[in-house]
């Protein structure tokens, strides 16, 4: 099979995956009472109106009294044309809300990803090359700590120690600070640190496990025997064959870990990024915004997977364009 056919097939799969996920989401929504509808009913009852009538009016304005198939078609068309409805709370299109908030998420997610990859791969590679030394044990223990420590608790402990007791860092985020300023970076130190510990730990563990496979490979021994320098061995003979798998992990696991961790961290520190917006949307029963903020990471994950498959073909010349084996 040719490479073009392989990539084309992966693209088709991404489309199909998004289609299934959106359909399932619609199914979930249709099978349950809309949380917003119950709020409407509650409000109507409190104001002395008829709750059932209020729900009916609400459903009519939302078009939920039509046949299911018609609703489904409309839902899917809206989703694919990025017409994701309006947020009740912000009185704006959800896409605008997301466009306004993602920069705050990016301010911690992007630096944290870069640092996590550099440190994680670096330490993992070093650890694998120096297996069963004290440094390796220390690194492994550090990885266990990073994986096991509940992010939200670590964040609170850091706030307690560095915010409340030592008063080195602010305990909550100040939105009035200029985005491109040192002061802004300063108040992102704690959230950045928490997010990075989680990400570094998982990167490190994978990097160590993956590179270990090549530390004792025949070609590494050959290279060492003919006097290649240790640095060159580490990068050309050990790290290079491990990159395809590491890239896979980077994209697939990372989207899950980083986005999920960032969600909680934004809520704790009050950073108005996607996580906090989603959290507030849930608290305020703002269904279109909840849907958008939970589906955006999902779409990113699907695209990330697609990207990873394509990356794989570039990074690993040995790949066969057959199915899974």
């Amino acid at each position: 099979m040719s490479m073009a056919w392989y990539i084309g097939r992966r693209c088709l799969w991404a489309l199909l995956a998004s289609f299934i996920i959106l359909s399932v989401t619609f199914g979930f929504l249709a099978a349950s009472p809309n949380p917003t509808a119950s709020t409407v009913a509650f409000d109507a009852a409190q104001e002395g109106g008829d709750p059932e009538e209020a729900v009916e009016t609400y459903e009519q304005t939302r078009g939920e009294d039509r046949p299911l198939m018609e609703q489904y078609t409309d839902f899917m068309i809206d989703m694919y044309t990025l017409n994701w409805g309006d947020s009740f709370n912000y009185n704006a299109d959800v896409m605008t809300v997301i466009a306004d908030s993602w920069v705050y998420s990016a301010a911690i997610v992007i630096p944290s990803t870069i640092v996590a990859v550099l440190i994680g791969f670096g330490v993992g590679l070093y650890s694998a090359n120096n297996q069963y030394t004290k440094t390796d044990y220390a690194a492994t223990f550090g990885a266990f700590f990073g994986i096991s420590v509940p992010n939200f608790w670590l964040a609170i402990m850091l706030i307690l120690i560095f915010g409340v007791v030592l008063e080195w860092f602010p305990t909550s985020y100040d939105t009035t600070v200029d985005y491109w300023s040192l002061e802004h970076a300063y108040q992102l130190v704690l959230p950045f640190f928490v997010l990075t510990t989680a990400a570094v730990a998982s990167q490190m563990r994978y990097a160590r496990a993956e590179t270990l496979e090549y530390v004792n490979a025949e070609w590494t021994k050959t290279a060492r025997a003919k006097g290649v320098s240790e640095w060159r061995i580490m990068f050309r003979h050990i790290f290079r064959p491990a990159t395809p798998v590491l890239a896979t992990i980077l994209v697939a696991d990372f989207v899950g870990i980083i986005f999920a961790s960032a969600y909680v961290i934004e809520v704790i520190f009050g950073i108005p990024g996607l996580g906090l917006v989603s959290y507030n949307a849930i608290i305020n029963m703002d269904t279109p915004l909840v849907l958008a903020t939970t589906l955006v990471p999902v779409i990113i994950a699907i695209l990330g997977n697609l990207l990873q498959d394509i990356l794989y073909t570039v990074l690993d010349p040995r790949i066969t364009y057959e199915g899974r084996n």
């Binding site: 995956a17 989401t25 266990f144 307690l160």
Partner: protein, 378 residues
């Protein structure tokens, strides 16, 4: 593998072949016992569901030290079922195969961290299963709010201090241990069952069944589970029962993949061919030959899924999406978060327990993998 290095090898004449010739329907004590006890739990649940009014205890007994009042909800019943299953399928086989158990134990105990973890988890297990029966539900005590823990100006009556509404933090921690155990064990058990069935079926059936099942797993793995759970909790509400169901049905993808690849290797072996030649059906081969031979992988995977389940529940409870009537560790940490300056212990102490529980499961899983799976090299 294991038998080669074990000092006491079995002679062929010692094997009681009768034991292995029981045929399709073998009624040994274990099968009868496990079926009967699982059935008993089911019947008790039916009795509670049909005849005992809600919020009324099934059993009330005044023991001398404390009053035992059992009023289980659905999660408690499922937890009972899980514990019974754990007993019959983990404890009893370990006892029956003493030789293998000792062999694995000798490998396992080389790992000091894992031994400590096992000890800590044993404490948490007793705390979470027996503790709530003794202390009941943590009650607010308005007369004694925000008491600091002992050694920090507090008293031994409340060694971990009290909450701002006067609940004893030790009691809250014990209840939280129960919640974490319930979530960790129940959700893991069900996701492991699902993963084993799907993985083994996919490997052994092949063809389009394999393709469809594994594509579904791909899809599940692509999905950032956290957001799926958030969405489902938003739509359907966050009762503990529902949360466990959601966790069980979203967390099995990776294990299914693992079981499939292991089972694929196993199904190449000649004893499978022999079984096929002897006329064994697919379901029988999967149940009798494939699953027991991949059980090491399954057990290791289970140990590493438990902490993920516990952490996810804690995060959701922390965010306030959990059941507001249940003292989860996540919920008490969230409560303590806004009063760090006045009562640091409320968020700190349950968090330490959560951290060490998760850490212990991770250590345990790692050590188990080293002990049970000699082919795994990390």
């Amino acid at each position: 593998m294991a038998t080669d290095t074990s000092p006491d090898r079995i002679e062929i004449g010692q094997i009681d072949w009768e034991e292995y010739e029981t045929g399709r329907f073998n009624f040994d004590r274990k099968t009868v016992g496990s079926t009967l006890s699982l059935l008993a739990v089911g019947l008790l649940w039916l009795y509670d569901f049909l005849f005992v009014a809600e919020r009324h205890p099934v059993l009330e007994q005044d023991l001398i030290l404390f009053e035992l009042s059992l009023n289980p909800n659905n999660v408690d019943w499922l937890f009972g079922l899980t514990l019974v299953a754990l007993f019959w399928y983990v404890v009893v086989p370990l006892y029956q195969n003493k030789r293998m158990t000792m062999y694995y134990w000798s490998k396992f105990k080389q790992n000091t961290a894992a031994i400590w973890s096992l000890g800590f988890l044993a404490i948490i297990f007793v705390m979470g299963t027996v503790g709530p029966l003794i202390i009941g539900h943590p009650e607010p005590n308005w007369g004694n709010p925000n008491a600091p823990p002992v050694f920090f100006g507090g008293e031994w009556a409340h060694p971990f201090g009290t909450h701002r509404t006067g609940e004893d933090i030790l009691e809250v921690t014990i209840t939280g241990a129960q919640v974490s155990l319930q979530v960790g064990l129940i959700a893991t058990l069900f996701s492991i069952i699902l993963a084993s069935v799907v993985g083994a079926t996919a490997a052994f059936s092949g063809g389009w069944i394999d393709e469809v099942l594994m594509r579904f797993v791909d899809l599940l793995m692509t999905f950032p589970t956290f957001f799926l759970i958030v969405l489902l909790v938003y739509i359907y509400g966050g009762s503990l029962f529902l949360l466990i169901v959601i966790l069980a049905f979203t967390g099995w993808g990776g294990t299914a993949r693992l079981v499939r690849s292991e089972a694929l290797q196993r199904s190449e072996e000649s004893y499978i061919q022999a079984a096929e030649a002897a006329g064994a059906g697919k379901a029988y081969i999967i149940r009798r030959h494939i699953l027991p031979n991949v059980s090491n992988t399954i057990i290791t995977a289970a140990t590493l899924i438990i902490p993920v389940m516990i952490l996810t529940e804690a995060v959701l409870a922390f965010l306030g999406f959990g059941d507001p009537n249940i003292w989860s560790w996540g919920r008490i940490i969230s409560d303590g978060r806004n009063h760090l300056a006045t009562a640091w212990w409320v968020a700190t102490i349950p968090g330490i327990f959560l951290f060490f529980t998760v850490l212990s499961f991770n250590f345990l899983g790692d050590a188990l993998r080293d002990a049970l799976d000699p082919r795994h090299e990390t």
